[in-house]
């Protein structure tokens, strides 16, 4: 492609969107997973199922409902605009879309992982004098971390690939909200297979690079004795 900006700008936008969405889900998904794993109340499995719904809706439709919710004339729209938050047709709309779509990918593995953590080890931390928060960050989270990380990487990948909901909320504005995915989609739709292939290659490289980096930064624990 003659114009490098045609690759770089969408790439930067995509990385920003996926990065923010992953960060948001690191916090919200982990917190929700923890809460559902540890609290005991009758409706929690129902809530668990409801939180998974962003996965079953076609992204475009999800985008449609998000628009109904946060659009200028939406339910939360006036409130958001009083706060000075503009989501529709901005990169923050893309972040919202990507976060919602990938939320279940973090929250469900996090819940499963927290449920598997040996409670005895938390007890061991308590008697050593560690408070609830310290126990969480020093014992529980590290023990659940690999599963959560695996969910975060899926969420990152999904955020990079998201375009249905993103397009609905953020639109496709070159240089502002046109992410790699939207670019790829449009190139394919326009029959520009060469341009599409180039953007696909860039996306794939980013994804593979990120995953390889994650493998490097968090190698599996040294294998134990089989005996």
């Amino acid at each position: 492609m003659p114009d490098p900006a045609a690759t770089w700008t969408p790439l930067l936008l995509s990385l920003q969107v996926a990065g923010w969405a992953t960060a948001i889900n690191l916090v919200l998904g982990t917190a929700a997973g923890w809460w559902l794993a540890r609290s005991r109340w009758p409706g929690r499995n129902l809530l668990d199922s409801l939180l998974t719904l962003p996965m079953v809706l076609p992204p475009t439709v999800l985008g449609y409902y998000l628009l109904v919710l946060v659009g200028g004339h939406g339910v939360l729209g006036p409130l958001l605009s009083d706060l000075g938050v503009q989501l529709v047709f901005t990169i923050w709309g893309a972040v919202l879309a990507a976060s919602v779509v990938s939320f279940p990918l973090v929250f469900r593995p996090a819940r499963a992982a927290f449920e598997e953590v040996d409670r005895q080890l938390e007890g061991a931390a308590w008697v050593l004098g560690l408070g609830r928060a310290a126990t969480f960050f020093r014992v529980t989270l590290p023990l659940a971390w690999r599963a959560i990380l695996s969910g975060l990487l899926l969420a990152f990948a999904r955020s990079l690939g998201e375009f249905g909901a993103t397009l609905m909320i953020a639109g496709s504005i070159p240089g502002e909200t046109q992410t790699l995915s939207i670019g790829i989609y449009e190139a394919v739709q326009a029959g520009q297979d060469g341009a599409a292939a180039q953007l696909v290659a860039v996306t794939s490289l980013v994804c593979v690079g990120t995953l390889l980096l994650a493998h490097r930064l968090s190698p599996p624990r040294p294998a134990g004795r089989v005996g």
């Binding site: 008697v127 560690l130 020093r138 590290p142």
Partner: protein, 222 residues
């Protein structure tokens, strides 16, 4: 030995604690004052020795009743009082060690010496930890993870971790069972010296009558 009955008893126990639910539920009732600073707890396997220590440590809540340490109430269901394990500062050593699998032996030892949200670093080492690595014969294993060490090494790590946290009393659940006789003797001497110097009360679960004799002032059977 006649107990010196001045002041409150070391342990004042009158409670019921239980494990499990339904018909198979295991229930333990204790009504006893311990006046000696060093008590050995004996009893057949499955009789509730570990459950008793866990209730004292605050890991299990008594269903009903009260327990006090040195006159200080730790739980009292009548008053709705319950002091969480973090604030009891009692050193409970787990029978199956409960070592942190993601931390090395040295980090496990340092775990209780550091507050805050970060685990002790792998490189920098607290001088006290260094002292105890030698004392417990764990120098070679310092950088190994729990699943890489021998049974006896794991037991010593658990003991060291408990002592290094600076507890007000010790609750030791068979601390020497996995050790060879020489090491056992050596470590129990160490422990005895430590107990005298720090004047720490201790409850020791053991199956070894000689050990009970040597280390404690009174034997309580469950």
């Amino acid at each position: 030995m006649t107990p010196q009955r001045t002041g409150p008893p070391v342990w004042d126990l009158e409670f019921t604690a239980a494990l499990g639910r339904g018909p198979g539920r295991f229930r333990l009732t204790v009504r006893r004052q311990l006046w000696q600073r060093r008590t050995a707890l004996v009893g057949p396997s499955g009789s509730g020795k570990s459950l008793l220590l866990q209730t004292l440590a605050g890991l299990i809540r008594a269903e009903q009743g009260r327990l006090a340490f040195g006159g200080e109430s730790l739980q009292d269901t009548a008053q709705g009082l319950w002091v969480p394990p973090q604030r009891r500062r009692l050193g409970y050593m787990f029978q199956d060690y409960a070592l942190f699998p993601h931390l090395t032996v040295a980090q496990n030892l340092a775990a209780g010496r550091r507050r805050g949200w970060l685990n002790p670093p792998r490189r920098v080492r607290d001088p006290q930890v260094d002292v105890w690595l030698d004392r417990l014969g764990l120098r070679r294993a310092a950088d190994l993870y729990p699943h890489q060490i021998s049974g006896g090494q794991a037991q010593r790590t658990a003991l060291g971790r408990t002592l290094l946290a600076g507890p007000r009393a010790l609750l030791l659940d068979e601390p020497f069972s996995a050790l060879d006789p020489a090491l056992r003797l050596e470590l129990s001497h160490e422990l005895l010296a430590l107990l005298s110097s720090l004047d720490l009360p201790v409850i020791l679960v053991t199956h070894d009558p000689a050990e009970a004799e040597r280390l404690t002032d009174e034997v309580v059977a469950l």
